[in-house]
């Protein structure tokens, strides 16, 4: 009997821990993801929450009002159509057609969901509308408008600009877009203009992924930058032959040069030498396969391909042409991490939330997402990306007087005639810490169709200094 009672204790402690872990997990998950669940489009109670509340106004970083509301609680928008179009994916629309815009994802602030019961009751008795909180976003409406003006009219794609020191998103544009005041047919449009291509669309990033392969080489091969590779114009892996754009032959080439001219063969060899495991680990340190839970943005998780791949697939991963799934926002984060000495900042959209009496309800604080690599490796990659702009495929992104670094990409997608044009890059200046990612779908080479738009973005930022 005594023996039994001693053994009892272990069983009791175990089962008690199970029950207490329910409480701990429940409180934890509600605390961490509660707002995310609350503002998801699945929540049918949201409409009920919105009743009797005038939604908060939304301002850009310079105090320009992007969305207001009349005292019946109906949304009012900016008078300029291009501005409305350029912001529709960031702001979202009140009926939730655009998933996870500010309008839905920050509805707990816009509709003052944490209002006290005293205020709720007094509003209910007096019949007055309550006021939601006003939001100031990190968005620059001028930059967004310029990008919408300059983006090819008949193409789909994505553009995102962020501050790599603080994570503030300056512009987030998805194409095609639409006017929130003309919503007929949007939900049934086969082009799906309501999808946010920056955060919800995943695709192969083409040669822009070479910066990640380069980071893997720096982390694993001590003499990587001193070595030379031989590019003969064709490289056979299994039954597949890897070639370069325009069937170029680069001959004896260093890694820095290989990045500048975007040599597929060198990066395929590099991927095979590193092996799947090393490349995967580096990609994961850049946040691929992470469960991305940013406070202000809902972003699809980027994916590195699953295990057990044949050599051909691995070889094509080096130049970024394999079955990678990366969002444009994520590639912008990759460029940001390189620019910011290897430190990836979490993207931020909300600068400040104020209630009706100008009391602060939320305030932006920069948040480090993760340390991706050493500052030294980041410098080496940045220098290679500088060469891309000076003497490589990215010359069209150069801006006189600014130290621009970048990488172009042309992603081949099965069943598409032209490649998707990619460009990721940043300004390497202390006073202008901005990075961008530009994607123009089915346009052709990144050097011709994405880099010039990046140049315009950098020029705009320079003039706004």
């Amino acid at each position: 009997m005594k023996l039994i009672k001693r053994k009892l204790r272990i069983a009791v402690i175990t089962v008690s821990i199970l029950l207490i872990s329910l409480v701990a997990y429940g409180v934890y998950s509600l605390g961490v993801s509660g707002n995310r669940w609350f503002s998801s489009s699945v929540n049918t109670s949201l409409r009920k929450v919105k009743q009797g509340v005038v939604p908060g106004r939304i301002y850009d970083r310079n105090g320009i009002q992007l969305a207001g509301a009349n005292n019946k609680g109906e949304r009012l928008y900016h008078t300029d159509e291009t501005t409305r179009r350029s912001l529709v994916h960031v702001l979202g629309v009140p009926d939730g057609t655009v998933k996870n815009g500010v309008e839905t994802f920050m509805s707990y602030l816009l509709y003052a969901y944490d209002d006290s019961y005293v205020r709720r009751l007094s509003a209910a008795f007096s019949g007055q509308m309550r006021n939601g909180y006003d939001l100031r976003l990190s968005i620059s409406s001028g930059l967004s408008r310029m990008i919408t003006d300059q983006f090819p009219k008949d193409k789909s794609g994505a553009v995102v600009v962020m501050n790599y020191r603080t994570g503030e998103i300056l512009s987030l544009n998805s194409f095609p877009n639409f006017d929130p005041l003309a919503m007929e047919g949007v939900a049934t449009n086969p082009q799906k203009p309501y999808i946010n291509n920056v955060t919800q669309w995943r695709s192969a990033p083409g040669s822009t992924f070479k910066v990640v392969t380069l980071a893997a080489a720096l982390a694993n091969l001590p003499d990587a930058m001193e070595r030379t590779f031989t590019c003969t114009g064709a490289y056979q892996v299994g039954e597949s032959i890897i070639t370069d754009a325009g069937n170029a032959t680069h001959g004896e080439i260093t890694l820095q040069r290989a990045l500048a001219v975007s040599c597929n063969i060198t990066f395929a060899k590099l991927a095979l030498e590193l092996g799947d495991e090393q490349l995967r680990l580096t990609a994961q340190s850049f946040g691929l396969d992470d469960h991305l839970l940013f406070s202000d943005l809902v972003v699809e998780n980027s994916r590195y391909p699953s295990k057990d791949r044949i050599a051909k697939e691995l070889a094509w991963t080096g130049p970024g042409q394999s079955v990678l799934f990366v969002t444009p926002l994520h590639m912008c984060l990759v460029a940001s991490a390189i620019a910011n000495d290897g430190v990836m900042m979490a993207p931020k959209l909300l600068l400040q939330a104020l209630d009706h009496h100008k009391q602060g309800k939320a305030q932006m604080t920069p948040l480090v997402y993760k340390q991706v690599m050493t500052a030294k490796d980041a410098d080496i990659i940045a220098e290679a990306m500088r060469q891309v702009i000076l003497s490589g495929t990215g010359t069209r992104a150069a801006v006189p007087g600014l130290k621009i670094c970048g990488k172009t990409g042309s992603a081949q997608i099965d069943g598409q005639e032209s490649t998707n044009a990619w460009f990721v890059g940043f300004i390497d200046e202390k006073t202008l810490p901005y990075a961008c990612c530009v994607v123009v779908n089915e346009a052709g080479e990144g050097s011709r169709h994405a880099a010039p738009l990046a140049r315009q973005i950098f020029e705009y930022i320079k003039t706004q200094r």
């Binding site: 009997m1 009892l8 009791v12 089962v15 008690s16 199970l18 998950s29 609350f38």
Partner: protein, 411 residues
């Protein structure tokens, strides 16, 4: 029970009565529902009768009785609010459950006289367990239901009670192999029925009881490894299980499709917030199967996080109270029986609430005392009956001790 504890129990019963009275009054005033007004008087009355008057007739652990009946009443209240018909149905289930509880109490009381029925219990259990495979109906991927004489029931719920009795009885006699054989047959049949949630429950209970009875760490580690292997085999063999795991890993992949249920449960909870939407003001009905599998989400939705935590803590109190009974028990059989009963309620609670908050993959077991369902209510109450039987025996044992002590002093 000592005088001190009786006073404490009164302080549990009174707020309980007040809670039910105001709750039904609110529901009644909301839609001017006469039924609710009747319930506002009847439920606190019945609650008082069962928690204060009943233990006067049959000595039992009063705190345990109050907690269990409060949860039953809460279940009836929430079901009444969701669907009055289901609420009244649950009242019937509860009445049958009470009879089952008293019956099981008496079984433990008169066990020495009726223990010769053990072989029959084992044979009938295995027969019942095999029944769903022969004439069962499939529900939620499991072939666990049987319809007999117009009553739909789940044999595995009833056999849970028998399992506790059989395990405790045989382990008290060091018949470890026989115990494992019986549990093994039950588990095998459950596996064939694909009722994996219940199988998990049976497995963990057997594991705990055998470990406590034998004190063998080898067995405990072997059993844990076996559980892992079983889970792996179940996962590989059954696409239904794979889907469940997939939903658990990322419920937001398909919130309108396969994971609609659990996502709506999570959303309902966050809509409730810390204080809840208020009784009668929520829309928990949107969750499929809210009355059985997701009753906890409905409670959380309308009563809020703090109340939800309190419900979990009440289950913890029931568990600890049950363990207290096990510790005071005077025979190995009673200790094992009381421990098994406490563990089965606690683990079942963990499995289903864990599924509701997406902490573990969802399985179709019910939340004891709260979920709608006759079999579940009766089996949970029967388990509490066994526990109360041990508590009753403890008290009689104590009286005998005192008597002997008194006689000893006199002589």
């Amino acid at each position: 029970m000592s005088e001190r504890v009786k006073i404490k129990n009164r302080w549990l019963v009174l707020p309980g009565m007040l809670f039910f009275f105001t709750a039904y009054l609110l529901l009644g005033l909301k839609d001017f529902d006469v039924q609710a007004f009747v319930m506002a008087v009847a439920v606190p009355g019945v609650f008082f009768m069962v928690t204060v008057m009943l233990p006067k007739l049959i000595p039992a652990d009063r705190i345990l009785l109050t907690l269990v009946n409060f949860l039953c009443g809460l279940g009836i209240l929430v079901l009444f609010r969701l669907n009055p018909e289901r609420g009244f149905g649950q009242v019937t289930n509860y009445a049958v459950g009470l009879i089952g509880m008293i019956g099981c109490l008496l079984i433990v009381r008169f066990w020495p006289q009726i223990k010769w029925t053990m072989p029959m219990i084992i044979i009938v259990s295995i027969g019942l367990m095999a029944l769903p495979l022969l004439i069962g109906t499939v529900k939620n991927g499991a072939r666990a239901w049987v319809k007999m004489m117009g009553i739909n029931f789940q044999p595995s719920e009833i056999i849970k009670v028998a399992l506790l009795l059989v395990c405790a009885f045989m382990l008290a006699r060091r018949m470890v192999v026989a115990t494992l054989a019986f549990a093994g047959i039950c588990l095998g049949l459950l596996f064939l029925q694909k009722d994996l949630g219940t199988a998990m429950l049976y497995y963990s209970i057997t594991l705990i009881l055998v470990y406590v009875a034998t004190g063998s760490l080898t067995f405990l580690s072997l059993g844990t490894v076996g559980a892992g292997a079983g889970a792996f085999v179940g996962y590989q063999m059954n696409t239904y299980v794979q889907n469940r795991v997939k939903i658990w890993q990322n419920p937001w992949d398909d919130p309108y499709g396969v994971s609609y249920q659990v996502v709506q449960s999570m959303v309902a909870m966050v809509n409730g917030g810390p204080w809840g939407t208020g009784l009668g003001l929520g829309n928990a009905k949107i969750i499929p199967e809210v009355e059985t599998d997701f009753i906890f989400a409905a409670i959380f939705h309308e009563f809020g996080l703090i109340f939800g935590v309190c419900v979990i803590l009440m289950f913890l109190l029931i568990f600890l109270r049950g363990v207290g009974v096990a510790k005071r028990a005077r025979s190995k059989f009673h200790t094992l029986l009381a421990l098994g009963c406490s563990c089965v309620i606690a683990i079942q609670t963990f499995v289903i609430i864990g599924g509701n908050i997406n902490m573990i993959p969802l399985t179709g077991v019910t939340l004891p005392f709260l979920s709608y369902g006759g079999t579940s209510m009766v089996s949970s109450m029967c388990i509490i009956g066994l526990l109360q039987g041990v508590a009753n025996a403890n008290e009689r044992g104590l009286e005998e001790d005192q008597l002997i002590a008194m006689l000893g002093e006199e002589s």
